[in-house]
């Protein structure tokens, strides 16, 4: 499987910019300014709490009080997942598995890779802590095979970090697993399938992954940023965490920001931060994509005045993508470009998704082309029809997330749609802004015959 970038190269800018954070206590923040060795890591963050300092159950309580939610996109409260997995483990008398998901299948998102590059041991700390807390039989860090990195080999860096760990001190042995890169590779059921030796695609099961996952054990899958936060909360406490952000959306968060410069950057911020300073360099701006490719567009006026928070923006922050679309670009063309990628990344297993997403992608391409949009009156109707048909019908949420993006585009780019149907595009620059690496999956056992 080769990675063929059909679009613009986006080497990540590894300068970390601290956006205006509400409050900061005696810590150094989540991200260091340069890659840390294991010794530097212990100095920078302080030593990992030993088991006697953190008896079983206490970490879970702290995480509950902190209100940490998953940073992989779904935003599910970590506390509830831990309780669910440990409950299943107790009930079935089977030791659970903990997985750190560092796959970051979202092409536009770099925060996970950035975090793994700068502070891999913080992620490993989190994995060790949860492994101890759950008395896991296995702790796995999953990353994308041959993950590209602007400054060298990320896989090698992470492997070195894993090898530096002392099992006797940690109490947990960490395994590193490389997973083929595709958009849905990091989806929990797909990841579990890979670790079970399967094709790395979601499969039907009566039970959730939390009940029966890797090797039939109760399995906890967490994004690497979430685990880094666990590593910090264990050291500094839940109150430290809650000092950041808002009451409903606490804690520091990492974001990948595309704002007018040539390269995206990873920013450390928190809910409640004004959004505009992050995207000011991109002005004038048409709209901003929030979350990821399963996220939502928000209109420029909202982006200028609102704060970065799900409550104010009324959209999930998802995987932390903030991508400002400059006014001279065409929002419909950009969305069509992204949705084409999403359609091609479908596993192709489930009839509705296999049939619906490519059709939605094709219709968006036409809508993005004023020449076609002015001739075909049924495009919007078809888009709505097919969106309704793929939602909720499949083994994973890929179609649902894709439909969310499509619907937000149809709302936010209403005026552009009207212009296109009149045969005119208001944006002069139709080049795609965000990356959509075309990958050849033909070698994978991806597509089931339908």
């Amino acid at each position: 499987m080769t990675a063929i970038d059909s679009d613009i190269e986006h080497p990540i800018d590894y300068g970390v910019r601290e956006a205006a954070v509400q409050q900061q206590t005696q810590d150094n923040g989540v991200l260091p300014s340069r890659p840390l060795s294991f010794a530097d890591h212990r100095a920078y963050y302080s030593a990992l709490p030993t088991p006697d300092r953190l008896p079983l159950g206490e970490l879970t309580a702290m995480l509950g009080h902190a209100g940490l939610r998953g940073r992989g996109g779904a935003g599910f409260p970590l506390y509830r997942k831990i309780v669910s997995v440990s409950g299943a483990a107790r009930a079935r008398k089977i030791a659970p598995t903990v997985i750190a998901n560092g796959c970051e299948g979202e092409p536009a998102s770099h925060k996970d890779k950035h975090l793994l590059w700068l502070a891999p041991h913080l992620v490993l700390d989190g994995l060790v802590l949860l492994g101890r807390e759950l008395r896991a039989i296995r702790a796995v860090l999953a990353i994308e095979a041959g993950a590209p990195n602007g400054k060298g080999d990320l896989v090698r860096r992470v492997r070195e970090a894993v090898n530096e760990r002392d099992v006797r001190q940690d109490g947990v042995r960490i395994e590193l697993v490389e997973v083929p890169g595709r958009f849905i590779a990091g989806e929990s059921a797909a990841l579990v399938s890979t670790l079970n030796g399967g094709p790395g695609l979601p499969s039907y099961s009566e039970h959730s992954v939390r009940e029966r996952g890797v090797g039939n054990t109760p399995t906890l899958v967490q994004n690497v940023e979430t685990l880094a936060q666990v590593g910090l909360i264990a050291r500094y406490g839940a109150d430290w965490f809650r000092d950041y952000g808002t009451a409903a959306e606490p804690g520091p968060q990492l974001f990948t920001v595309y704002a007018g410069r040539n390269r995206p950057r990873v920013v450390q911020a928190a809910a409640g931060t004004p959004l505009w300073p992050l995207i000011a360099d991109a002005e004038p701006v048409d709209a901003v994509l929030i979350g990821g490719y399963h996220g939502s567009w928000i209109p420029a006026p909202l982006a200028r005045h609102a704060r970065l928070s799900e409550a104010e923006l009324d959209v999930p922050l998802g995987a932390g993508l903030i991508a400002a679309l400059p006014a001279e670009r065409c929002g419909l063309a950009e969305t069509a470009h992204i949705v084409r990628y999403l359609a091609l990344e479908s596993a192709g297993q489930c009839g509705p998704c296999l049939n619906g997403l490519p059709r939605i992608a094709a219709a968006l391409e036409q809508l993005a082309d004023p020449h076609h949009a002015s001739r075909d009156q049924s495009l919007l109707e078809n888009l709505e029809r097919w969106s309704g048909m793929v939602e909720g019908r499949g083994l994973c949420h890929h179609p649902d997330g894709s439909v969310r993006l499509v619907r937000s585009a149809l709302t936010v780019f209403r005026t552009e749609i009207a212009a296109h149907r009149a045969g005119v595009c208001t944006g002069g620059d139709r080049r795609p802004l965000l990356p959509a690496p075309l990958r050849d999956h033909a070698g994978d056992h991806a597509y089931a015959a339908h």
């Binding site: 359609a343 091609l344 990344e345 192709g348 049939n355 992608a361 076609h372 339908h450």
Partner: protein, 197 residues
Amino acid sequence: MNSSILWYVSQATGIVCLVLYTIVMLLGITVAGQGALPGLPKFSVVALHRSISLLSIAFLAVHIGTALLDSYVNISLVSTVVPFASSYEPLWIGLGAVAVDLMIALVVTSLLRGRISPRFWRAVHWLAYAFWPVAIAHTIGLGSGSGGLISGWGLWLTLACVLAVAVALVWRVVVQLERSRRTPAQVLQTTRSEVRV
């Protein structure tokens, strides 16, 4: 009972089984390929496939039973399920026993279909593609009823059955090839080209 009558009944029910099982194969291939029979809803095709296979068991039982009872040839009960254990025509009777064994596996798993894992049921059901040719071979070997291979109208009937299933198989393979080509990329391409009208 008159030996000749038993023997003729065995031959006759054997030919009936040939036809019935051929129809069962054709119906099964139709369902698997998502084909339709004119005027029949799909659940009827499935129901027919099931009912005719069960009906065939009745004829098969008579076919075997009369052969066992017939004193003219020596076929033991054991040799109806243990292949090549018969002293009379061990090869052809043996193939019949193989067919019986496969048929038992197919029927038992299908009766338990909701209760066993779908993957296991499907794996065993593939044996139908082994069962039918073996039954055909058995028919060709013993169908003349008096030594030597099947001939005359029996041969023509057998060839007609083989032809029918061969055609159905070609159709099935074509359907499968088309299905496996359907990827998101292919659907996208097809939809786009449909648009450029």
